[in-house]
Amino acid sequence: MTIEAGGTRSGDDAWRRNSRAREVRERVIKLLLSACAYLSILTTFGIVAVLFEETVRFFLDVSIVEFLTSTRWAPPQGDFGILPLVYGTLVATAIATAVALPVGLLTAIYLSEYAAASLRRWLKPVLEILAGVPTVVYGYFALTFITPFFRESIFPDIESFNAVAAGLIMGVMIIPTVASVSEDAVYAVPRSLREGAYALGATRRETAMKIVVPAALSGIVAAVILGVSRAIGETMIVTIAMGSQANWLGSPLEGMQAMTAYIVQVVGGETPRESITFKSIFAVGSALFLITLVLNLVSYWFVRRFREIY
């Protein structure tokens, strides 16, 4: 009796201790896991803090009005007007979008409305390879293949570094982004809408273009904005194939410098850390960060909206 009770009691104790140990372990693990998740907040704070600190120091030397409105960018002469760099980025991005918007959207329609399931399962990952190709590879291709091709065919006056080749290849790079996100949206359109269209005698193309695409429009808009944001932030293609000379309102057949390419140019050179030129890369980085942040938030909002409808 006594032994049994003692045994039970000690077993009871052991079980309680064990349970407490389990509880402590559970709590510690939850804490560790949550720390991993909070790291993302820390990353954002880090980005904002680093960019903000150096940008403020830059604006102690250069007027913010000049930075935002002047059309002269020549750091050695102390001219810091960001507009020529923004222009370079926008020209390349516009060309890229002109390629990726139609091709990406049609690809999405093909994948969702036309391709057999087995084909779709292989085509999507192959498109993902396009998104994963290192951008130095695209840069090389634009510089050594696309530009010479244009020179020999339609644009004999094209410069070695130019916005057309860089923009076109950047368009190829963002096709998978545009295609994949808009395909999700197109695929999410309820079947009943398609069946309704067929019942009214619409053909496959009419159903796709007049029913499915309008129904998926907000997701498609989100996809395009996301692609534009990726193009604006792309660095190596424009660094390699578009040149390093700021060029305000130049022709797309000429070389020009993008915001990202300027940052690479400065960090690759012998610019002293404390110089105003070195600080300027953080100001350009801040502008880049703000532009892409706004685009990403708008895109996120569009995606959420189309998810709420269906």
Partner: protein
């Protein structure tokens, strides 16, 4: 009377319109089918053309000697990518060691523990935003934090700094992929575990993580292959474009495949262009290998779950 004639006229006109248009509509449909198929094939066409070009340009340089030699300014035709290859392997290993545990941890927390509080919603929006931040901005972050602020720990522009920077860059991708894999696991698995008296962590460790692994692994492989293909962020945090030694510790300097390619591209002589092409063939080989592995894993996993 006049009214009925009009109606008859109208319907007759409508009928002829309809007959006239049906062949046009079918024609348009056929043209559209060709168009969308062509669009879907453009990407593959460009990829094939690109591979063909670099293999043609790089074939003169490509050999085992190319893989085992240092780059050379004096005899560029005898140069190779050995230190860059070693540096990229270091980057890959360290980045995997840092980003995989952190990414899995964050994903498990957000998917299995986090309640629908304002803070957790902020974290979610924040992660999807971080996924869209340009890679060069991560470079600037690494420059400010790991190269300057934490220099005593990281040794400044070391391979560890490069790996830390790349880890922050790919964390959002890993988190999103892992969460999707966790979300696909039916609730009954969790409930079964709890019913047997397992704690939350025990269920996660013994059931959820093993079940989510193939899906998560697909995302991890794609993320890591993106990390070693990135040139912009490591250019900012101080990758060497030339060094005479091979990286031997996390605190050493390092070269990397994409930046070595970039360095060769930016030199005008033909021999450097050919070296760049040969380097690209190696980089693309690694990329295609990683992608095939990811595709194989995903297809196997999808069949499994059905």
């Amino acid at each position: 009377m006049a009214q009925s004639t009009t109606r008859a006229d109208r319907s007759a006109a409508g009928e002829s319109d309809f007959k006239a248009s049906i062949s046009t509509r079918y024609g348009l449909d056929r043209a559209f089918t060709v168009l969308v198929t062509a669009a879907a094939l453009i990407g593959i066409g460009v990829l094939a053309l690109l591979l063909f070009e670099v293999i043609r340009d790089g074939s003169t340089m490509l050999s085992t000697r190319f893989l085992t030699s240092f780059p050379s300014q004096l005899f560029p035709e005898n140069g190779g990518i050995y230190p860059a290859l070693v540096g990229s392997v270091w980057l890959l290993g360290l980045t995997a060691l840092i980003s995989v545990p952190l990414g899995l941890g964050a994903a498990v927390y957000l998917q299995e523990y986090a309640e629908d509080t304002r803070l957790n919603r902020v974290i979610e929006v924040n992660i999807s935003n971080l996924a869209g931040v340009p890679s060069i901005i991560y470079g600037l972050l690494g420059l400010g934090i790991f190269v300057q602020l934490l220099a005593p720990v990281t040794g400044g522009g070391s391979v560890l700094t490069g790996a830390l920077t790349l880890s922050l860059l790919i964390l959002p991708i890993i988190i999103v992929a892992t969460r999707e894999a966790l979300r696909a696991i039916p609730a009954s698995i969790r409930e079964g575990g709890y019913a047997l008296g397992a704690t939350r962590w025990e269920v996660i460790r013994s059931h959820l993580l093993p079940m989510a692994l193939p899906g998560a692994l697909t995302g991890i492989i794609l993320a890591l292959s993106r990390a070693i293909g990135e040139a912009a962020p490591i250019l900012v945090v101080g990758v060497s474009l030339y060094q005479t030694y091979v990286t031997r510790s996390p605190f050493d300097g390092y070269m990397a495949l994409p930046t070595q390619i970039y360095d060769w591209i930016s030199r005008p002589q033909q021999v450097f262009q050919d070296s760049a092409a040969a380097g690209i063939v190696v980089a693309m080989g690694v990329l295609l290998l990683a992608n095939s592995l990811a595709i194989w894993l995903r297809n196997r996993y999808q069949k499994h779950s059905r």
